[in-house]
Symmetry: C2
Amino acid sequence: MPSKYKVLLVGSGALGVVAAYTLEYNGFAEVTVVVRSGYKKASTEGYKIDSIQFGKIESWKPSRVVPNVEEAIANGEVYDYIFTSVKNLPDSPTPCEQILEPVLKANTKATVILCQNGLDIEKPFLEKFPGHVILSCVSLIGCTNIDCVVNQMTPDNVQIGVFENPTIKDKEEAERKLDEFISIYKMENGKNVVKKDVNPRLTRWQKLVYNAAINTSTALTDLDCSRAAMAGCKESIWRPIMREIYAIAKSDGYILPPDLEENMLRISDGLFYTPSMLVDVRLNRMVEVEVIVGNPLRIAQRNGVDAPHLSMTYHLLKMVQFRIMEKQKIITVDDSVREFKNPDAQDNVL
Amino acid sequence: MPSKYKVLLVGSGALGVVAAYTLEYNGFAEVTVVVRSGYKKASTEGYKIDSIQFGKIESWKPSRVVPNVEEAIANGEVYDYIFTSVKNLPDSPTPCEQILEPVLKANTKATVILCQNGLDIEKPFLEKFPGHVILSCVSLIGCTNIDCVVNQMTPDNVQIGVFENPTIKDKEEAERKLDEFISIYKMENGKNVVKKDVNPRLTRWQKLVYNAAINTSTALTDLDCSRAAMAGCKESIWRPIMREIYAIAKSDGYILPPDLEENMLRISDGLFYTPSMLVDVRLNRMVEVEVIVGNPLRIAQRNGVDAPHLSMTYHLLKMVQFRIMEKQKIITVDDSVREFKNPDAQDNVL
C-alpha cells in the first residue's frame, strides 16, 4: 500500500468536489482535481463548502488543482484511480473517453470510476482502453456548486461495482480494486453511504426506469416533477416509458423488480424536483440523451422490442440537443435564405 | 339580397384583418371587427397594411370596430355571417363557442364560418347552437399583424365548405349560404384563391397530416422546420405520426391520398418556416393541442387504432400547455414546499 493513493478527479461539479473532499478527509488519498471552468478561483481561493456531512468549511483546496488532464500528467504523474463525474456526452465534440485519453494512455494500470448516469457508458472505455479496471458508481446526492460555493443538502449515497469487462483476465484484481476504493471512500462514522454493487448493470437499468421517463419528459416540457405530475403525465408518459424500459431490460437479461415502477412514479411526489436533464436544458448545456435514452433504445432495436414512447422521447431530445449545440456554436446553420423576416410574429396558419 | 351583407369578424390577427379588408374591398359586405387586444389603436388609427394582394394602404378602418362580442350586439344588430379566426382552444377559460355565444343566441339565423385549424371544431357549435349553418374555412396564408401593422406575404388561399350538420333540415339552404359567402369573399380578378370544399372533413384530415406532425414537434423542441429536419426528425418523428394520422383517418372513413405524406414531409424544405404552434409557444400563448392532436387521438381510441407517437405528442404538449397556462396565471401552483432553494443550479444526479 502506497503512503497515500493518488486520485485524479475529473469533473468538478458539486458531486466531484464532495467526492474529492471525502477522499482527502478520510486521509488515505491525495487528490488532483481537474477544474475546466472556474480554474482560477478554485486554484487560488479554493471552495467554500456548506455540507450536511462535513459542516461549514470557509475555504478548502484539494492537494492539487489543474486546468486540464494534460497538466495533470505533465510531469509523469501516476494515478491509482481516475474518478470522473463529467457529463457523459458521446455526441459532443469531446466525449468522456477522449477527455481521459491522455491520462489513461500514460497510466495503463489506473482504475477508472465512472460516476455518471446511463447505460453502456463503459463500452467506449473497454474498446479504447483494454486492460483498465472500470468501476461503476451510481450516486444519489442533492448538491450545488455555484462559482466554487458548494452546498450539499443530502448525504452522499453511492453504489460502486465492477463493470463486466472481457478485456481483463484477472477478475480478482478488479474486485480488489473495488474493495480498495470503497475502503478509501467510505467514512468511518457512517456519514456517507457507500455500498458495494454486485450487479452494476442491474442497478443502472433500475435507475433508468426513473431517468428515461422523468428526466426526459420534464426536460422536453420545462416542467419540474410535481408540475409534470399535475399535468397528468404519470399515466400517459412516465408509466408507458417505464414499461418499455422493463421490457428492454428483460430482453437484455435483467428482470426489474415489479414494485420499482410504482416507487419511481411516486419518488418525487410533492418535491417540485428539477431533474438533472431539465437543469441542463435551462442552462443550455448538452443533455445526456445518448446514455439515458439512445443506448437502451439501441438495445431495444437489436432485440426486437417495440418501444415507440422511448423512440419519440429520444428523437425529440435529439432535436433539443441540436438546438443546444447550435446555441453553443458546436453546430452552425445558415438560415440566411429564410422566407419570412419576422417568423416569431407570424400569424401562421400551417 | 340586402343592400350589404352584415359580417361580424371575431379574431383580429393578420388573417382576420385580411379577410375583413377583402370583404369590404369587394363591396358586398359591411364588416364589424371585434378587436380584443389593440382595440384603442385599431378603432382610432386603424390598420396599416402592406399586402401582396392589395398593395400598401396607409390607414384602413373596417366599417365598425368593437372591443368585444357583447358590444357588437348591444343595439340589437343582426349579422348574416359570423367569421371567426380566433385560436380554437377548448381547454382555455374562454373556448371559441363561449366567445360567440351572445351573438349566436341573438342571431339565430346567422351562418358561422370557422377559419381555424384542427378536427371536430364544429362539434361544440352543433351541440350548443343547433340550426345554425356552420362553414369550414381552411386557409393558407403567410401574414403578420404586429400592433395594427399588417404584412401579407402570400396570397390568401382558402377552401370553404359546409360542415356535416344533423341539426339542419334544409341542406340546400346551407349550400346557398356557402355559395353566397364565396361570392362575397372571392375577388374578381383572381387575386385571392377561394375554392368550394365539397368534403371539409377530408380537407381537415389532410391538413392534419402536416399539423399533427410538424407543428407539434417543432413546438416541443423550439426548432423551425428546416432545423428540425436537419436534426433527423423527418423519418423518426414526422413520418411515424403522419402514418398514424392516415390510419386514424381511415378508421374514420377517410382514405388520404398516398402521395400526401411525402409532399407534407417536403413542403417546408429549406424554408426555415416557423409553424403556428411554435410561434404560440415562443410568445407564451396557449397552443391548439386539443383540436390538432387531442381530437384525432380520441377518434383513435374510440376506433381502436394504435397511435403511440401521437399519444406521446399529445401528452407532452398538454404539459407545455400547463406551463403556458401557469405563466398566464390561468393555473396557480403552490410550490412553497419545494425542497431545494436553487433548483436551477443543482448538480442533480437523478
